[in-house]
Point group: C2
Chain length 365, copies 2
């Protein structure tokens, strides 16, 4: 290790990260499913290349801007897994001129707009609500869905590929059996859609895949493609619901210790809401928790140190509640490592990473 | 208005912003207090210049990095209102070589480190805990404080200026009378310190100043300087506790509408946790609330639209619960304006602003 850290820094354990990638890829291969990793978690061209080196050529992003970022690095088949924002039609046309761009169609209005304004062909998926209740058509809106399918097929600029859904409510599961319930509900919804359309349309693509379900479930019904993102890093939220183990979490935030308060067993680190995000989880023993302190080892980090956790975050300060034993060994100027609650949000605010051998990873600005 | 918005954009009402500035400046002038605005909220060189044009020459920042950013724009007297991070000694020396740098001393260790490593003189404040319980010495730690004062005065690189505190628990107040209680507690703590030291040391500086207290209180005890930051924009948190009125909130997030769900009276906007931050408030009528939708007017925005609020945020999606009337007038591709819960955090993630006449404001990268 040759780490020179003086500010809050997102540390990347490359080996854990590659292992997470290989496990998910092997699962898709074993099940005969296409693997379209969602790049919103790492937002990094360098990490993206690890996927490409393993033969993966299709990705998902959460915005058109992020699609442009990865298109610059020669990703040529990108699904923007977000309702199409018609106000970005210029960006859509720029992207469609050079890559195979897959958009979501969430209404007749959007379809008509695209049909008028597209200068290059795109692919389209119709978004289905798998029970999350955020976006997408519900399975009982079949007449509308049917109307859109028919209308898409009458355009010459939009190639209809199939259906896409995201069972994001799996993130609020409390354990594996709740993940299983969410997953079954999602598959049931998609099956209704699939049964209705597959007889008429061959080679219908069905894209699903949140990290909790993709990590812990072993069959995916009518799906043809999995689209998880968070799995590349995982985090405490995923660990708490049983979607990963602690030693699969591939990122930690390194924070300088700036103040020590012996009396109340607290230390203050340089590392606040602008570094972690304010994502919180409710820990069985600690209550509201913004991160767990892990032991620093010769090669990275080890297990969480009992009774050491981030209890409070303000803009730049993190207040860490500590055990008596930890208090005795810590001093101002030390660096401590903290596992984040939600790695997507933490990476998004920190905007860069450093691997354990000191290599810098840039992210989308 | 010549706004071209296609993505989540932080809108700045320059008139409200300048009014907030002028009101706070007038208050300080009237009370004969130094005004050292905290620049962590706007993080913008352009907005900083509005302060300078009004004769303000001393500022506070929340990190050394932010101090460097403003030093580039010729701010020459900066207090880093954060415990001194000794790992950034190189940055401290770079700053101290060209500006009057004011650091916080939070322990004997930090003092000794600085005394050995400083290449240029700095000023120092000793941080006092005003009841917030985050950082600083408590008023009953007088022997330690006294020891540090004596030790600082024996160095030739560190000029001791006085004491600094932050009553950050005022943000959790529920109303003006709770702010008043926090304020009185803070002043009482500082007075104990002041009484102990002022007899021996003349021209002792006392710096306090969180936005709730600075906005709503009218006397500041032994303080010589006020140091608020959030007041430049304000936000729903400040409005809820009574520190500002709705029409003083100087920023809103403009978000494209990307999906409409008539049945559940919801729209989905492009605008999620990566744009608002995940800061939440508990609204008396709506429960958890991540922002309020305001009416769009010819010159900016007006009042909140009843029963229209951001009920959920994921990475890029905002789910807005809407009134029947609002649902009827909204369509995909519209832009809606949303007042943020915590403007410091929202500005920090959006990283740039646009005024209502279309001018771009850059922020610290």
């Amino acid at each position: 290790m040759a780490l020179l850290i003086s500010e809050p820094t997102l540390l990347l354990d490359q080996q854990k990260c590659l292992n997470n990638l290989d496990v998910m890829l092997a699962k898709c291969q074993k099940l005969g499913l296409d693997f379209r990793p969602h790049f919103k978690t790492h937002q990094s061209i360098q990490i993206g290349r690890w996927f490409r080196e393993r033969g993966i050529h299709k990705i998902a992003t959460s915005s058109l801007k992020m699609a442009e970022y990865f298109a610059q690095d020669n990703w040529t088949n990108i699904t923007v897994a977000f309702p199409t924002n018609i106000l970005e039609i210029d960006r859509i046309n720029r992207l469609a001129s050079k890559i195979e761009l897959n958009l979501l169609i969430q209404s007749v209005d959007v379809l008509e707009f695209l049909n008028q304004q597209l200068q290059f062909p795109v692919n389209a998926y119709i978004q289905i609500d798998l029970g999350y209740g955020r976006t997408g058509f519900e399975s009982d809106e079949m007449p509308t869905i049917n109307r859109i399918v028919t209308a898409i097929r009458q355009t010459n600029k939009i190639r209809w590929k199939g259906f896409l859904g995201h069972a994001g409510h799996s993130y609020s599961a409390k354990n594996i059996s709740e993940i299983r319930r969410v997953h079954q509900q999602a598959l049931d919804q998609m099956q209704i859609i699939y049964d209705y359309f597959s007889a008429r349309y061959s080679s219908l693509e069905i894209s699903i895949g949140d990290t909790p379900c993709c990590s812990s479930m072993s069959s995916f019904g009518c799906a043809s493609e999995l689209r998880p993102g968070n799995f590349i890093f995982y985090d405490l939220t995923q660990q708490q619901i049983g979607a990963c183990s602690l030693d699969q979490i591939a990122v930690a935030v390194a924070c300088p210790v700036v103040a020590i308060h012996q009396k109340r067993h607290q230390i203050v680190v340089y590392g606040g809401g602008v570094h972690f995000s304010k994502e919180v989880l409710h820990h069985a023993n600690y209550g509201p928790c913004y991160g767990l302190v892990v032991a620093t080892t010769a090669t990275g980090w080890g297990k969480p140190i009992p009774n050491c956790y981030v209890a409070k975050l303000s803009q730049e300060h993190g207040t860490v509640q500590c055990s008596e034993a930890f208090m005795q060994q810590i001093k101002i100027g030390d660096i401590i490592y903290i596992l984040p609650v939600h790695s997507c949000m933490t990476a998004n605010v920190l905007k860069s990473m450093q691997s354990l051998d000191g290599q810098q990873y840039t992210m989308m600005p």
